[in-house]
Structure formats: structure tokens, C-alpha cells
């Protein structure tokens, strides 16, 4: 089923931010729960065909979510979201990082500051995410990594094509 909900995706290369706005056909409490409870996050966070697995979750200021996105081949990409500020069912902020299975942060990969807010829209809820990177390089790097995580097959097709084009 195609969604007819509002969906905005804006990359601001001047401020190194990604802004994503999306409306959901559910109340604010439920949408909040889906973002903040690991058993629910596990059901949607990684885009198909990847799946999400939570290793540990402590949704509190100073706490973290340690999770993996897993490819059908079994390859795991570990992430760690450290929660900084939480105002229940309104807003949370955190610092995202790539990590390993032990939860050790990879210092070579970009981190982003996430600001996620939830607003009522009648019976619906608007989720507004602003991810801020340290530099444009970081933003571009993470975009390329995102594509590695989610879209390997499409990228293989593009690789083949680019290779053919460069011959």
C-alpha cells in the first residue's frame, strides 16, 4: 500500500543537516512508543530486507539504544544511539554513532545529533527529525554508507553500469 501521508526529506548542504518530516495515522503516544521501545523499534527501524535487533535499550537521559541492522546474508551493522534529552511524547535528542557488537563507538565514522519531535495533527501525528552532522563530508559519507546498508543490490547494479560506462 502506498502511503499518502506527508513526507518531506530535505538535505541542507550548507548546515549539514538532514530534515525528515513524516505524518502517521496514529496518536502521538503510540507513535512515540514505536520510537522509544526496543520491541517496537525492532519491527520497523531497519528498511527491508534488513531486520533490526536490539542488544540493549535504556531509554533515559544518559542511556542508550544498542542495536544492529542485519542483512539477509547475516552481515550486521551495529549502531549506538545515546539519549541526551527526553521530554515524553514531545521530543528527544540523542547522539548517533556506528559501533561494534560490544557497543564501542567507531571514531572514524560520522556521528550525528538527532532531534526528533512529535506533534499532533488532528488524529494523526507528525514526526520531525533533524539530523545534524559535523561537516558536509560527514553528511556525504553517511549517505554513501546508508546506501551500503540498505540497497546493496541496487548499488551492485549501479556498479556494474558505471563499470560498463567507464570501459
Amino acid at each position: 500500500m502506498k502511503s499518502t501521508m506527508q513526507f518531506d526529506f530535505i538535505a541542507d548542504k550548507k548546515n549539514n543537516t538532514l530534515t525528515v518530516k513524516r505524518e502517521f495515522d496514529a496518536g502521538r503516544q503510540l507513535v512515540w512508543d514505536c520510537h522509544t521501545k526496543s520491541e517496537l523499534l525492532d519491527k520497523w527501524f531497519a528498511p527491508k530486507p534488513l531486520t533490526t535487533k536490539t542488544k540493549s535499550m535504556d531509554f533515559s537521559e544518559g542511556g542508550h539504544w544498542h542495536y544492529a541492522m542485519i542483512e539477509p546474508t547475516g552481515t550486521e551493522y551495529w549502531g549506538l544511539m545515546s539519549y541526551q534529552k527526553i521530554k515524553p511524547i514531545e521530543r528527544y535528542e540523542g547522539l548517533d554513532a556506528f559501533s561494534n557488537e560490544k557497543g564501542e563507538i567507531n571514531p572514524d565514522l560520522p556521528r550525528a545529533h538527532w532531534n526528533v519531535s512529535f506533534e499532533d495533527r488532528g488524529t494523526r501525528t507528525l514526526v520531525h527529525t533533524i539530523a545534524t552532522y559535523n561537516s558536509l563530508d560527514d553528511l556525504e559519507k553517511v549517505i554513501q554508507m546508508g546506501m551500503q546498508e540498505g540497497l546493496t543490490s541496487t548499488m551492485e547494479r549501479l556498479d556494474d553500469l558505471l563499470e560498463a560506462l567507464n570501459k
Binding site: 501521508m5 528498511p47 549517505i143 546506501m147 540497497l151 541496487t154
Partner: protein, 108 residues
């Protein structure tokens, strides 16, 4: 809903990829491209249209023929990567839609 062609969708099709590979070597007329394929000409025209809309190729009128050339720079543009990143968010949120509707049904 806004309809915007996704370049990655464009290159997912094997015939369109073959067309791009042909055009990588040289500029070609629509007729010459169609001759290379064992499919109906209107089908090829449709493919050319999709590629044009994604700005992966550009058309130029020369006399009575339309010639096509590849716009290789477009394919490497960072915005192309961006459209993939956007797709991740789209897919992720579509899954959340499904989850929300499942939860709401179970609550009734």
C-alpha cells in the same frame, strides 16, 4: 502526490541499462538504438522517455532524426546518492505505518 522519476528505478531495468551502455560509447539516433534490440520500437521509445525524464540522457534534434547522448555526470551526482538515502527513510516509515495499523487493529 508528487511524481518524480527515480534514477535508480530507471537503471533497475535491464533494457534501460543496455541503452545507457550503448550511449556510453557514442551518441546514437533513436532508430539506431531501436535496431539493437529485439523489442517493439514504442517499447524502446518508452524506455528513452524514462531515461530522459531522469536526465540520464539528453535528446538533440539533428535534421529529421533525434540523437541521444549520455549525461554521465548526472549519474555520479551526490543527489543520486541522496535519493537512495531518502528511499531508506521512505521504506522505514512505510514499515512503521504497517506496524501502527497492526497495533491499532489489535487494540480494537
Amino acid at each position: 502526490m508528487k511524481l518524480r522519476r527515480d534514477p535508480f528505478q530507471a537503471i533497475a531495468d535491464p533494457t534501460r541499462r543496455a541503452i545507457l551502455v550503448l550511449l556510453a560509447a557514442q551518441t546514437m539516433s533513436a532508430g539506431a538504438i531501436a535496431e539493437k534490440f529485439d523489442v517493439a520500437r514504442p517499447t524502446i521509445s518508452k524506455h528513452m522517455q524514462v531515461l530522459s525524464e531522469c536526465e540520464l540522457i539528453a535528446a538533440q534534434q539533428k535534421g529529421r532524426e533525434i540523437y541521444y547522448e549520455l549525461k554521465a555526470d548526472k549519474m555520479k551526482d551526490i543527489d543520486t546518492w541522496l535519493s537512495q538515502f531518502r528511499k531508506i527513510w521512505e521504506d522505514r516509515y512505510n514499515q512503521l505505518d504497517e506496524l501502527l495499523s497492526t497495533i491499532k487493529k489489535n487494540d480494537l
